[in-house]
């Protein structure tokens, strides 16, 4: 049977990808953030999954305002890298896992999550930056197939934090019901506190971020009970992306082990974080 072996929470700020693409990670502005990634990268390189399920949001690229799915899962065999207005990132095309993706859709719908099914999907920085955080040097191909799971966080009403946590639990059940022996990593992406527009642009809330960083491991239910208004007020209009970490968390066991974490301000206009958790899988 398939199992979730670890979960990665990471910001997906486009400039983090640009820093890697432009070989600027050792510059003083970026070095603290990338130094903070190293321990997690070393551990993940020793614990490679067979498949990744990557929870993220599109940023006005593959998903337009004509059709806004609250949750969507992509089932194609491959996903091109999007041109977001400044050219494609120089990273490999992403290969999916159509059979597992189809199984996940069927399981989620049977589990009362009426998820939108996406086929053709160009993946933007929300997706490729977390992959680069995982593997900064993929060469010609990413190390394993990746299944995109999309959450609407840019048009109100976003799903509630509680619904995201419950989706994660259903995702975990679906993964564990897949008959093949696959080791699966789940990525929850976005955050931490940031706001791009309005008079509060540049908002950073390290107190809220630290609270979230702690409770995502030990008290995710408390985070799931926070309202959208609380996320927007405390973490900023784009900081609400942090609800996507709860999808990852829900897919994992109740007890998980924190392998690594880092927090850095700023990555352009954002508080950037990484938190890596090993699942307590029986028999491991």
């Amino acid at each position: 049977m398939a199992e979730v072996i670890w979960g990665l929470a990471t910001s997906h700020v486009p400039s983090i990808g640009a820093a890697m693409d432009n070989h600027r990670t050792q510059e003083p502005y970026w070095k603290p953030l990338f130094d903070g990634y190293q321990q997690a990268r070393d551990w993940m390189a020793e614990h490679t999954p067979d498949v990744i399920v990557l929870v993220y949001n599109d940023h006005a690229n593959a998903i337009g305002l004509d059709l806004v799915p609250t949750f969507a899962l992509a089932t194609a065999a491959s996903f091109p890298v999007a041109d977001e207005g400044w050219g494609r990132r120089p990273v490999p095309t992403v290969y999916g896992h159509p059979d597992l993706a189809q199984h996940l859709v069927e399981s989620l719908v049977d589990d009362a999550f009426d998820i939108t099914v996406a086929h053709r999907l160009a993946v933007d920085h929300g997706f490729t930056v977390p992959l680069s955080v995982y593997d900064p040097d993929p060469g010609d191909a990413w190390p394993c197939p990746v299944i995109p799971l999309l959450v609407n966080v840019i048009q109100y009403p976003q799903p509630t934090a509680a619904r995201c946590y419950d989706l994660g639990k259903a995702l975990g059940r679906a993964i564990r019901a897949y008959p093949d022996d696959l080791k699966v990593a789940v990525f929850g992406t976005g955050g931490m506190s940031h706001q791009l527009a309005g008079e509060r642009a540049g908002l950073i809330n390290p107190v809220f971020d630290a609270m979230f960083m702690s409770r995502i491991q030990n008290d995710p239910q408390a985070l799931a009970s926070l309202s959208r208004e609380t996320y927007v007020t405390e973490a900023g209009s784009e900081g609400i992306e942090m609800i996507m970490w709860l999808v990852m968390r829900g897919a994992m066991d109740e007890d998980i082990t924190r392998i690594s974490e880092t927090y850095h301000v700023p990555a352009s206009n954002t508080a950037a974080a990484l938190a890596l958790f090993e699942n307590k899988v029986s028999g491991r």
Binding site: H59, D83, L203, S237
Partner: protein
């Protein structure tokens, strides 16, 4: 009616904003191909004619009145594509939204970000 949060100094883009700003956002969404970026920069007014913008939206777009673009229904993720065509950064926009120079905005971020209440 809407239940969306009303947080001062904060845009919470919603369904009504989508309706109001649809043409702005649609135009910006087309700037994701090199050919369209070239066509837009070659004839901005002509390019705008293809989209059903109000006069105020059209003026805001052509004059790069960033605050008005958001007030008239633009989503920051779409409007940012227009800024990118102009080779402007999110830090530049942050300065515009907060009344700061780009340099001061960058410095505020490097000092730990802005505490907003």
């Amino acid at each position: 009616m809407t239940t969306k949060p009303a947080v001062p100094g904060t845009y919470v883009f919603d369904i009504a904003d989508n309706r109001q700003g649809y043409a702005i956002n649609k135009l910006c969404s087309t700037l994701t191909t090199p050919a369209n970026r070239v066509r837009f920069l070659a004839d901005e007014a002509g390019y705008c004619d293809r989209f059903d913008m109000t006069p105020a939206q059209r003026t805001a777009l052509l004059k790069r009145d960033w605050r008005s673009l958001l007030d008239l229904g633009g989503s920051i993720f779409y409007v940012y594509k227009l800024a990118t065509v102009d080779k402007l950064s999110m830090q530049y926009l942050g300065g515009v939204f907060t009344g700061m120079t780009t340099e001061d905005f960058i410095a505020a971020m490097r000092a730990g970000g802005r505490r907003c209440g």
